[in-house]
Amino acid sequence: MEIKITTEGNFTVVSVDGSLDTNTSKAAHDQLNKLVDDGKTKLLVDLTNLDYIASSGLRILLATSKKLKPLKGEMRICGLNETVNEVFEISGFTMIFNVFKTAEEAKEGF
């Protein structure tokens, strides 16, 4: 798993490569926490290069989202491949997250 962080205007793009599972989620969670702690409250999580996501990966997305709520922050997610999208559908995450097809669509109006 690899995470690239770039800033574009008033929001931060977090691109996750590889997989989000038991063994990688801890590191990803730390990085996301750090971003929020540093005052980055507008996050675009780009999963275009993510192969698959397990429940531990879902857990950190949920935790980050919960953490942003009192800060009036916002998290958008984009670029789900077929497998990741299926996991999102099964777990009901497509309904509770702002999910966009592509990064371009997600950036619009962010």
Partner: protein
């Protein structure tokens, strides 16, 4: 009333009524159908004509449009116009008189006679004769100077002369003429912008006139020209309806006009004159009405907005005289009639103002019956014609009289047949009733004979129908009765023998008693009121020692001990006063008497009083008890025994030891006197009765009461027999039991008879239960049904109700992977519903062998059962076909109770969809189907309404709610127990209430997916560390890639591994030791199957409840999501616990 008469009357009545009803309905239906048929025919003809007319006009418009755009026409227009203009020069200096002479003669001799022939009043030359010299000039050259006959003036092409028009005419005329001939127009005109008719093919008297200034400027020709003149559109076309047109000798003429444009410039107008003949020919079929199906009075015609005919009336053509007569009768104005008569045409003359015409002109299409223009009722089919600029109605009609002649014939025929049938019915019914009743009469006769005692009669009517069966039963019954009577006769003769024997024995007993009485030492003594003895019998002499003579006349007191004397006198006096006539002295107790020798003795005395001549006498009967007492015991017992001598008699002492038996006993048991006396009667014990039986007997008889019961005993030869035994205790004077007398009666014969009757009853009940036997014989009853198949377990049970029935269930493989199971409930009971069930079951099975769709199977079975179902039976059905490799159940519900599914984690589902009505009720119904996935250890329960409609004593229903509650709370762990739990619950609910309907329950539990042949396999052993998941993923991906499993599939396993291995590593071990986790990966033909084995604590992840995936972020709990993902990403999964080992297996379809 006799049965045959009743049948005859009912059959005749019902048949005649049905024939009459069917006949009358047939007549009315037939009439309607024939009438409809007539109307349909008229409408068809109408449409044919209408289409032809419409097409004709459409064609004309198209021709006109294309012709007006033709360059040749444009050139011709320009040329004719220019030539016409030049006429100014051509006529300069010509002699007008010469021309007037020729032209005037033509008008006088040709034109006027022709037009007058078609007119009411004679026309004058001045009305039509042209005034303009240009007109005269051209008419002179092309009409009067033209040598061709009137009506053939078009044959002149070159008029000669050196005027320009002649050249232009010679050039273009052949072309226009040819065009006209080709398309059959009446005439073609070109008119210039000033209104001059510069060209006409036929050159009637409108030729070369001005449509704006001259005499014809009011005609429909002029009107249509002016409209075309005023348009700016080259596409413009205008048509005018037929009107009387003088240049065509007052014939009917219609025109269609379109402007001629050269580029954007309008240069003239092109007009076609339309012939009325074409329309007439189409409408009158060249007088071939009968050939086109219009019979003798049918016709088609067109009526214009002026309500006038546009074609010839058929009746005018066929029978003019009659037609005119009718017109006269209905009040048509004379001038119209004479016009029609003179002109020999109805076109534009005959007014048609009928109901249909008015409706059609309003735009309505329809059929109706009304009087036509002749006032005669016709069947009419009408509609408006859709021709632009024309407001026309087309009518297709046939005289009602003709139309109805066929109908009347049909009705006549029907009535004749109806009457014939009605006459025939009683005859047929008579023979039928006779055939039906004859065997019954014979049977009645036989039964009368039987009643009179004649039993060996055979009816000879044994056949297959109901009466035949009844006759058979009669035969069987008479045979059985005969047998039974024979047996009774045998039994009867035995009884008589017994009576004779008994009578004899009673006589002997009587003599013996008599002799005892004779030998008794009773004394009889009579005294008078003064106590003096008046009678003293020899026995008394013997007892007391007094001779008769010495005691007679003495006082009785002599015979009494001194101490009793006072008491005696008191007693006698008291007795005298008492109302009793006799008295036993000191009853049961002994009194004493005194002998002559002074000896006292015990005596038993009874006295009686007689009043003779106001004097009382007393007679005493006295027994010397001392003597009697000696014999008493023996006498008592002997007398009882003798009284019962017909039966076997045993006398025992109080301890039960046999003292005496009679010969009947020996005969009954085979034991002789010698063999039993002094012994206990238990030698007869058969061992068939328990200890309590004998204890009860002893208890009864030791109380001094009589005991009576039926006993099975054993004869000396070992044979068992039934006897009725009565044991009477014998009491002595002090009420002590001294002996027991047992009287035995053999009832074996009676018992056997009873047993036979009972057997016969049972047999009869069996026959009544044939229906149930058929039902049960068709069910698979052996469980486990498929012990070789570990993929599933099925269990079913069916509890028949006493009467109602027809449930069934069935299950079998239809191919290697697919397994069918079904539950059904046939309406009705007994043999018919059992047979219907058998048919239904067989149809399903045979169809399923080639069809794996439940809806298709049921649709087929329904069609088969509905097609020929005279008894209107039906069945409700729930049919499932499960694919054992995936757990997918396809199902169809045909009017049946919805089954329930219970998932391994406790989730509960009901398959509520109904896919169609009950099977057997409605042919051609297409049933639907649905599907549902059974995961491993899920089970489905199918049942019939005997379950939810089970009733207790108070008629409360078991109910769906109770059923669901029972299934939900059932914690047993196999399908047989699930089914039994439900069944027992229903039974318990019913209690003692009688079961109203069959109860059927079928349970199916899915245990594991069917694995086909394993093609590739690998395995890997992991340590219980989270990092090992990556190693597993690598190994797994390599194996998958080698064997061409698509990444989309194995990526799902990556997620599943992450969840499951994480669970195991994190929660399965309660120690800190190192453990192995083995992962086995198999690829079969269609599945990827992965098993994970660990030695952690027992834990079935799939028992976890489904998490709520619809909660918002705040309320969202992440727990349980991992297993939820596994469930949904995999096609199926299973969990098994072995000794100290968990095995979780995952199945994914790779096809």
């Amino acid at each position: 009333m006799k049965l045959s008469t009743k049948i005859l009357l009912i059959l005749s009545g019902v048949s005649i009524l049905s024939v009459a009803v069917i006949g009358l309905v047939g007549i009315s239906f037939g009439k309607k159908t024939m009438e409809d048929e007539m109307f349909n025919k008229l409408t068809a003809i109408r449409e044919l004509k209408a289409n032809r007319i419409e097409a004709y006009f459409e064609q004309i418009r198209n021709q006109l449009l294309s012709f007006s755009e033709d360059y040749m026409v444009v050139d011709a227009m320009n040329s004719f116009h220019a030539a016409f203009e030049k006429l100014d020069d051509d006529i300069l200096g010509l002699n007008e008189e010469l021309i007037d002479k020729s032209l005037g003669e033509y008008y006088q001799t040709e034109f006027l006679p022709r037009i007058n022939k078609n007119s009411e009043e004679a026309h004058l030359l001045e009305e039509f004769y042209p005034t303009d010299f240009h007109t005269k000039f051209l008419q002179y050259h092309y009409i009067s100077k033209n040598l061709n006959k009137t009506g053939e003036k078009q044959l002149l092409t070159d008029a000669g002369g050196d005027f320009a028009y002649s050249g232009v005419h010679s050039h273009y005329h052949p072309i226009f003429k040819s065009y006209l001939e080709k398309f059959g127009f009446y005439d073609i005109f070109m008119i210039d912008l000033q209104g001059h008719v510069v060209y006409s093919v036929y050159k009637e008297v409108d030729f070369a006139t001005s449509l704006i200034e001259d005499v014809y400027n009011e005609t429909n020709f002029a009107r249509v020209y002016k409209e075309a003149l005023n348009t700016d559109s080259p596409e413009f076309i205008k048509m005018v309806d037929f009107e009387t047109y003088p240049p065509s000798y007052n014939g009917q003429a219609s025109f269609v006009a379109s402007p001629i444009f050269e580029g954007d410039r309008k240069i003239g107008v092109l007009v076609f004159q339309l012939p009325i003949d074409r329309i007439n020919n189409i409408m009158t079929d060249n007088s071939q009405w009968e050939k086109v199906g219009l019979g003798k009075s049918g016709e088609t015609y067109i009526v214009g907005a002026d309500l006038l005919l546009r074609n010839q009336s058929r009746f005018l053509i066929e029978d003019k005289e009659n037609y005119l007569g009718i017109l006269n009768d209905i009040g048509t104005p004379d001038d119209v009639i004479s016009k029609i008569d003179n002109l020999n045409t109805s076109i534009g003359l005959q007014k048609v103002e009928t109901q249909g015409v008015i409706a059609a002109l309003k735009g309505d299409t329809g059929i109706s019956i009304f009087p036509d223009y002749r006032g005669i009722h016709v069947l009419s089919s009408y509609r408006p014609l859709t021709i632009k600029d024309m407001d026309w109605a087309i009518m297709s009609e046939l005289d009602k009289k003709e139309a109805y002649s066929a109908i009347t014939g049909f009705v006549k025929n029907m009535i004749i047949w109806l009457l014939l049938l009605i006459a025939l019915i009683p005859v047929v019914a008579y023979y039928f009733a006779r055939g039906l009743v004859k065997p019954l009469e014979k049977l009645t006769d036989i039964s009368k004979q039987m009643a009179a005692g004649k039993l060996d009669i055979e009816s000879g009517l044994c056949r297959n129908d109901e009466i035949g069966v009844l006759a058979c039963s009669f035969d069987t019954m008479s045979a059985s009765l005969k047998q039974m009577m024979d047996k009774l006769e045998v039994a009867n003769s035995t009884l008589e023998e017994k009576v004779i024997l008994r009578t004899k024995e009673v006589e002997i007993a009587h003599y013996k008693t008599q002799s005892i009485i004779d030998n008794a030492n009773d004394a009889i003594i009579t005294i008078d009121e003064k106590q003096n003895i008046v009678l003293f019998n020899p026995a008394a002499s013997e007892i007391f020692g007094y001779e008769n003579e010495e005691i007679i006349g003495k006082s009785l007191l002599e015979l009494l001990p001194e101490e009793y004397r006072d008491n005696h006198i008191n007693n006698i006096n008291a007795f005298k006063q008492s109302p009793e006539s006799s008295k036993q002295m000191s009853q049961r107790s002994e009194v004493k008497g005194k002998r002559k020798n002074g000896e006292l003795f015990y005596a038993e005395i009874s006295i009686s009083k007689q009043k003779i001549e106001n004097q009382y006498q007393f007679t005493a009967f006295l027994k010397d008890v001392s003597v009697r007492k000696k014999a008493e015991k023996r006498l008592k017992s002997q007398s009882a025994a003798l009284k019962s001598a017909a039966n076997g008699i045993v006398i025992t002492n109080i301890n039960g030891i046999v003292e005496w038996v009679n010969p009947a006993f020996t005969k009954l048991t085979g034991y002789s006197w010698r063999e039993v006396v002094g012994k206990n009667p238990r030698v007869l014990n058969s061992g068939k009765h328990d200890k309590a039986f004998f204890e009860n007997m002893w208890k009864t008889i030791l109380k001094g009461e009589v005991w009576h019961d039926e006993v099975i005993n054993k004869k000396k030869n070992g044979e068992l027999y039934y006897e009725e035994m009565t044991i009477t205790p014998i009491l002595n004077d002090k009420q002590e039991i001294v002996q027991f007398v047992a009287i035995k009666q053999d009832v074996t014969v009676r018992k056997e008879l009873e047993k036979k009757i009972e057997e016969a009853n049972l047999r009869m009940e069996d026959e009544l239960n044939v229906g149930r036997d058929i039902q049960m014989s068709m069910l698979p009853l052996i469980f486990p049904a498929f012990p070789d198949h570990s993929e599933f377990n099925i269990f079913a049970l069916l509890e028949s109700a006493r009467e109602v029935g027809g449930d069934f269930y069935d299950f079998y493989f239809i191919d290697e992977n697919k397994f069918l199971f079904t539950v059904a409930d046939v309406a009705g009971k007994g043999v018919p519903s059992a047979l219907f069930m058998a048919v239904c079951k067989t149809l399903i099975k045979s169809r399923a062998s080639e069809d794996s769709s439940p809806s298709s199977i049921i649709t087929h079975v329904n069609d088969e059962l509905s097609r020929d179902n005279p008894s209107s039976m039906f069945v409700t059905l729930f049919l499932c076909i499960i694919d054992l490799s995936t757990g997918k159940i396809s199902y169809t519900n045909a009017g049946h109770n919805p089954p329930h599914i219970k998932r391994v984690n406790g989730d509960f589902e009901t398959l509520n969809t109904l896919h169609g009505p009950v099977v057997g009720a409605m042919e051609d119904f297409a049933y639907g189907e649905d599907s549902v996935i059974l995961n491993v250890n899920d089970y489905i329960i199918l049942f019939t309404d005997g379950v939810n409609e089970g009733m207790d004593k108070d008629k409360n229903l078991y109910s769906d709610a109770r059923l669901v509650e029972t299934l939900k709370s059932d914690n047993s762990d196999n399908i047989k127990d699930h089914v039994n739990t439900l069944f027992n619950s229903v039974m318990e609910f019913q209690g003692d209430a009688e079961q109203a309907d069959d109860i059927t329950i079928l349970g199916f539990e899915y245990l594991e997916p069917l694995i086909n042949k394993i093609l590739f396999t690998t395995s890997i052993i992991l340590k219980n560390q989270l990092e090992e998941i990556d190693r597993l993923n690598e190994h797994f991906e390599e194996f998958c890639e080698t064997n061409q499993v698509p990444p989309k599939i194995f990526m799902k396993f990556n997620i599943v591994f992450d969840e499951l291995i994480n669970n195991i590593v994190s929660y399965a071990y309660k120690d800190d030791e190192e453990h192995n986790i083995e992962v086995i990966i198999n690829i079969t033909e269609d599945h990827l199957v992965v098993s994970i084995e660990d030695d952690g604590i027992a834990f079935n992840p799939f028992n976890l409840a489904t998490p709520d995936t619809s909660a918002s972020i705040e309320d969202r709990d992440i727990g349980g999501l991992g297993v939820h993902l596994v469930r949904n990403l995999m096609d199926n999964f299973s969990y098994k616990r072995f000794v100290k080992k968990n095995m979780t297996t995952l199945y994914k379809n790779i096809k």
